[in-house]
């Protein structure tokens, strides 16, 4: 009996927390103690907080592992805990109706989790968990058995390319930096929004990657640049860093090799431009985050004027695996030009929103339909926007393309931050484009003219179109503006800011023309171009729409057809959403 064990893993990533994960864990502790499980059935109970495993729409996820056999429960609410403890842990009978079903399996089976794998399995706040999974072994190997150039060779051979933006070869970047004459060098880990789950679920991988990178380029100091708002990521990374320091993995004379390396935090705001490498350096130096001219590139002259390597946190997470498992193993994953895997945040109108890791080159269709489970509410897929705000919009007709650096560039998009937003036929592409341009206009730092004025003019024209006052010539102006911005902006923000417009215009020209020529918004989104009306034959006068209308525009008596006063209507669509009889139409 004494060999049997029970392990309870509760997801405590951001969304696990949001769904009440802390409370669920507390109750598990409470009931296991209350039922005296350990004394009664002679088992040892372990509780483990784990990071996000990506399937956030069904949080809180709980694993109950009894003698190695695992049962996963989904959407666990605090009130369900008592029964799970009584029936399953004490009684030995799992509760089928609460178990994670096919969706959970299909969500995970198509993914290829090399860096997200440990997230959801290990306790991110316990370094021993990470060490048990061979953690810091790669760092030890690199620092004690390999030369810095040897490390750079392996990383170059693996074909690893930056996961944060341009997809530049990581090994090459390191080599350029190592080749500089200065003695002082820096290395920076750029922790962006998509890296959040990584930082929450497996923070040590980022730290280990940074350590190996620091050794390879000969840096004495590393920075973790993280947005202050990601409270949980900051906390987990800070705990991890403290633990690594206690173990002697960070600090002086690491692994007895004489190599000194320290890591510091630098907190940024969530300004988009702060993710740009040179702006980020200005921000670490305490100035306005305005990008610098290049050349010189950061690898030659970066932070405080010293050679600096800056990589995305996901790039760094790959490093321990490459050193540990070898360049050949890594380059066996992915396509000819794009090696390894990539993490995307799948969001928008798909059934399973979540964080997915796929081998490079996986067709978009598979992500949306197999992993994402298709479009929610049985609607029709319209387009997918890949790569964050300045990524391109990919129409449904091109959904069989593979996701890798080259294919994405070909369709005018970027891998970027790895954001992926799915749109259905209820989304208006022009309005979506306007949203992205509005974001980029607000985030433009204002340093260079093409970006500062270009985004502004672009936004004005798009507003004009969605307001129903657009003219055909506006499209020419937009196209010309796009060309100028791409060619002459100082940094990546301005150079990619026109991606949403160019791609959406190329693939959804009809929708633009409908807005301009017919003064119609086919998806019924743009307020100025849509009218909500009651279909009298269908309306039974239930009064739902009248109650839902915030403007008091709907009038009518109970059981009689209602009416919408167009003067008062603010076109929020609330009536349309609540009507169960489809008695309200959009035009």
């Amino acid at each position: 009996m004494s060999t049997s064990s029970v392990e309870i893993k509760v997801c405590l990533g951001t969304s696990g927390n949001a769904a009440g994960g802390e409370e669920v864990l507390r109750l598990f502790r409470h009931y296991v103690f209350d039922r005296a499980v350990e004394a009664r059935i002679g088992t040892r109970c372990e509780f483990r907080k784990v990071g996000c495993r990506g399937f956030c729409s069904k949080d809180v996820l709980v694993d109950v592992i009894i003698n190695g056999s695992k049962t996963t429960y989904q959407s666990v609410k605090p009130i369900m805990v008592e029964r799970i403890v009584d029936d399953h842990i004490v009684g030995g009978g799992p509760i089928p109706e609460w178990m994670a079903g096919d969706e959970y399996t299909s969500f995970h089976s198509k993914q290829y989790k090399i860096i997200l794998g440990p997230c959801g399995e290990i306790d991110p706040e316990n370094i021993d968990d990470y060490i048990r999974m061979n953690g810091y072994r790669a760092a030890r190997k690199a620092v004690t058995k390999m030369t810095p150039d040897g490390v750079i060779d392996v990383v170059t051979q693996s074909g690893l390319r930056g996961r944060g933006g341009s997809g530049f070869s990581t090994g090459e970047k390191w080599r350029i930096c190592r080749g500089q004459k200065n003695d002082t060098r820096y290395i920076i880990g750029n922790v962006g929004e998509v890296n959040r789950a990584l930082a929450e679920g497996n923070p040590h991988a980022i730290i280990e990657g940074l350590l190996i990178g620091g050794y390879a380029i000969g840096a004495q100091k590393g920075y973790l640049y993280i947005r202050e708002r990601y409270h949980l990521s900051v906390e987990r990374l800070r705990t991890a860093l403290d633990q690594a320091r206690d173990k002697g993995f960070i600090g002086k004379d690491i692994f007895g090799s004489g190599f000194d390396f320290n890591i510091e935090f630098s907190f940024g705001t969530e300004s988009f431009i702060c993710g740009e490498e040179t702006a980020l350096m200005e921000s670490i130096e305490g100035k306005r985050a305005m990008p610098r001219y290049r050349p010189p590139f950061p690898a030659e002259k970066g932070l405080w004027g010293m050679p600096t390597v800056i990589n995305n946190a996901e790039t760094f997470s790959n490093i321990p695996l490459i050193i540990g498992m070898g360049a050949d193993w890594f380059s066996s994953i992915g396509t000819a030009e794009s090696k390894g895997t990539k993490v995307f945040t799948l969001s928008g109108k798909v059934k399973n929103n979540g964080l997915v890791e796929i081998p490079m080159g996986m067709p978009l269709r598979e992500i949306v339909y197999s992993i994402g489970g298709g479009i929610a509410g049985n609607r029709k897929l319209k387009a997918v926007q890949v790569g964050g705000p300045s990524g391109g919009i990919i129409p449904e007709s091109m959904i069989d393309m593979g996701l890798d650096y080259e294919s994405l560039r070909k369709v005018g998009s970027i891998v970027g931050s790895g954001g992926m937003v799915v749109f259905d036929d209820e989304d208006c592409i022009v309005s979506v484009t306007k949203f992205f341009v509005e974001f980029l206009q607000r985030e433009s730092c204002g340093e260079c003219t093409p970006c500062r004025i270009g985004t502004k003019r672009m936004l004005e024209l798009l507003i004009k179109i969605t307001d129903g006052t657009g003219e055909i010539e506006d499209l020419d102006t937009l196209n010309r503006l796009s060309g100028i911005m791409t060619a002459s902006s100082l940094c990546g923000l301005g150079r990619t800011a026109s991606n949403p417009f160019i791609t959406s215009f190329n693939h959804f020209r009809d929708e633009y023309l409908a807005h301009i020529r017919d003064k119609k918004c086919p998806a019924g989104v743009c307020p100025a171009l849509v009218v909500f009306m009651v279909v009298p034959e269908k309306c039974k006068g239930c009064g739902l729409c009248r109650k839902a209308c915030p403007a008091g525009a709907v009038t009518g008596e109970i059981k009689k057809a209602h009416d919408i006063n167009q003067e008062l209507c603010i076109k929020c669509g609330a009536c349309y959403k609540v009507c169960k009889l489809k008695a309200i139409k959009k035009q």
Binding site: C56, K287, R288, T345, S347, N353, G419, F435
Partner: protein, 205 residues
């Protein structure tokens, strides 16, 4: 503690005496009308000077990083006042414009007091298409904020917008004092806020 709000370029005799460098014409003092009120303000400013001096010391250790300095001021007072900027500008011989440049660049720095509780509404792409704008309306409505206002009069709540906070998979998202709430709708936001206003803690939607 609220900093005294003074018009123009505030300064006072006491802090000049403390300053290591002589007061310049531009840094207030001599021609500054406010300086004459210094005597009346002395008691309050001594306590403030103590706090600011501590921040100044830390700042010198940090290679003059303005962002960290401003962050500390904001942590201490909840916002950054013109007086505070002037105080540091004089002692560090850094023009005040440099401070304001940094303050206005980063949305996180505030020059007005903020509420005790902060509600952050994510307005990133994923949250946008799932109705972040409605959440913003609802929270303004629930707190009785007019358009363009972000803080309630009783300084209890501040509502702010954020770009993607990295929780797109549970969009739309709001954060109330570090606690993330996912899959929100206007009704839930209203309940969240009204419940919080009463009990000062999260009591469910």
């Amino acid at each position: 503690m609220g900093a005294p709000s003074l018009p123009g370029r505030p300064h006072n005799a006491y802090s000049i005496a403390q300053s290591s460098k002589p007061p310049s014409l531009l840094s207030g003092g001599f021609f500054c009308p406010v300086a004459r009120r210094a005597g009346r303000l002395r008691d309050r400013t001594t306590a403030m000077d103590k706090v600011l001096n501590k921040i100044l010391e830390e700042h010198r250790r940090e290679k003059g990083n303005l962002i960290l300095l401003l962050q500390r001021i904001q942590e201490t007072y909840g916002f950054i006042s013109r007086e505070n900027v002037q105080w540091f500008s004089d002692r560090l011989d850094v023009p005040a414009s440099r401070f304001f440049g940094v303050i206005t660049f980063y949305p996180k720095f505030r020059m007005k007091p903020s509420g005790k509780n902060t509600l952050t509404v994510c307005c990133g792409a994923a949250c946008h298409i799932k109705g972040a704008q409605q959440l913003l309306y609802a929270s303004h409505e629930a707190l009785g904020l007019a358009k363009g206002e972000d803080t309630t009069e009783d300084l209890k709540f501040t509502v702010e917008k954020a770009t993607c906070i990295g929780a797109c998979n549970i969009a739309p998202v709001v954060i109330l004092n570090k606690q993330v709430h996912g899959a929100m709708d206007p009704e839930k936001v209203t309940k969240l806020l009204t419940g919080f206003a009463k009990e000062d803690e999260f009591i469910g939607y």
